[in-house]
């Protein structure tokens, strides 16, 4: 049974559709990403999953619970880190942790949790004094303090410097290693690519695709792209005859090929058979970025 099941979720604000029809399922123990441009409906989806908002249509189940009706039970087992959720400025880190720990039936131990999140030496610091990265880590610590089975992390690394971002990614991987299912909302491709087992790409309130990051990248058609200068003349037709090649362009004696994820392998074996050397060979892997752009652009055309 999936840990999170979202089925045809629909939500409007004053007649404006924020989430049109979103469906996906998150399995036990995976890091599932929700990726999409700003205003795509990611946060609204997460808020419906977290029990903060009531859906206007469709259904949401988390660990078999209805997030609205079973809100109290849900919050015991689902840890949530929200975008733009602050804390009292004059409360110290340890005090904040102890406060939230007291709300749960089986809270985690605070000292080890703070150590794991690199906040042990900040335990006596007031919230106001923390850096952006430390505040984010505290937000993660608070999402984990109830020993949750599922954590929802919304725009976790927004506003963090690259170093803090990488550190935070490491933390998310640690969380998954102890068997916690992670729902990660992001608009960073790199983050999604690095962390997520599977992704739902959301655009304009709809799920455009659900796949692994690599699978999504392949979907764009431009699985791989290569450029080279052949050491001996090579017919276009020969290359285009390969099923892996989608398009070919010549420029200044160089050949540029776009094709599937097996493009490089197919072309290099052809060149080897013909004993042609590929000078100045450059290979580009289609990234999630390409997939994101092409899939969300496509949605805009419709």
């Amino acid at each position: 049974m999936p840990v999170i099941e979202v089925d045809r979720l629909h939500k409007e604000y004053r007649g404006v559709i924020a989430v049109d029809e979103v469906s996906f399922a998150v399995e036990q123990g995976e890091i599932f990403g929700i990726l999409g441009p700003n205003g795509a409906g990611k946060t609204t989806t997460v808020e419906c999953i977290s029990g903060l908002r009531a859906p206007d249509g469709g259904s949401v189940r988390v660990l078999g619970l209805d997030p609205r009706a079973d809100r109290d039970e849900l919050h015991q087992t689902v840890g949530v880190q929200l975008q733009e959720a602050g804390l009292p400025e004059k409360l110290k880190v340890r005090e904040t942790m102890e406060l939230f720990a007291s709300f749960y039936r089986e809270p985690a131990e605070i000292a080890p949790l703070l150590r794991r999140l690199g906040l042990a030496d900040k335990a006596e610091a007031r919230y106001k004094k923390l850096s952006g990265g430390q505040k984010q880590r505290l937000a993660i610590a608070l999402a984990l303090v109830g020993n949750p089975r599922v954590v929802v992390l919304d725009e976790l690394t927004t506003g963090l410097d690259p170093h803090a971002r990488r550190e935070t990614w490491g933390l998310v991987e640690q969380v998954r290693e102890v068997g916690v299912t992670v729902l990660l909302v992001t608009h960073f491709m790199e983050e999604a690519e690095r962390l997520c087992d599977r992704l739902a790409l959301i655009d304009r309130g709809r799920v455009v695709a659900v796949d692994t990051p690599a699978g999504l990248a392949e979907r764009t058609g431009g699985g791989q792209r290569m450029r080279f200068r052949p050491s001996a003349p090579l017919e276009d037709a020969e290359l285009l005859a390969l099923p892996e090649v989608d398009s070919l362009t010549r420029r200044d004696g160089r050949i540029e090929l776009v094709g599937t994820s097996n493009l490089v392998q197919a072309v290099t074996s052809l060149l080897a058979r013909r004993q042609i050397i590929a000078d100045g060979l450059r290979i580009e892997q289609a990234t999630l970025d390409d997939a994101f752009i092409s899939l969300t652009d496509h949605a805009q055309e419709n």
């Binding site: 004059k90 709300f103 109830g146």
Partner: protein, 263 residues
Amino acid sequence: MSATTASPLSADVRVSPRRRITARGFRALMGMHVKLFSREPGVAIIVLVPIVLMVIFGSIPGTKKPQADLGGRSVLDVYVPTIAAMVPLMIACTALPTAMASFRERNALRRFSVSPVLPGGMLAALVAVLSSMALVGVLIVVVLGLAVFGAHAPTNLGAVISAFVLGFTAVMAVGMIAAARATSSGMATGMGTPFMILNFFFSGLYVPVAQLPHAFQTIGEFVPFGAVMDAWSGEGILWQHLAVLAGYTVFGGFLSAKLFRWE
């Protein structure tokens, strides 16, 4: 006996009360509010100013003489309830709205709303802490005035206690309207202060109520702490004062519940 054969497991069936907030969580929330208040310099004023005022009034020699224009009571007699009233007024009109506003301002309520404690629990803990503060403050001022400086105790103790309690709920309910809407501490202060000054005036903080023109005295009966003062001094009709206070409580409570926004 067959009645004893019930499976021992039946005792283990979890009868989950599904309480929104545990006693432990509620105590922790109250502890948080106490800590936050103790770190807020403005809050000391709420407790200290009335106590200092009481000590000053009690120490001035002339304040204990009965005066004809105060209806035979001494200045001290008149000012004990007035100074005591400052505590609940400042708590309800400034501490409550600013505390709520600062939580709202920082989006901290969003953080609570995804924990097992809903924001309502946080608000309840805040009200509990403020009520205890008000109770302690009023008791200190009254005990100082009556026991230490020898002011005359009110005759109808039941009326006075019920008037003070209802007076507190009345101004808390009105303060809650500001707490319901204010999105910054400054806005909260701005909303709460005029009502506080109005109550200060009619509780006789600036001029003793007995020296106010008759029309003002009549108006004062319909201002929460004007009504409380009358109940203390035994003026007017007690049930009318209590009804006024209950009216504010119900009206303020209803309106603030209607207007309340968590974010």
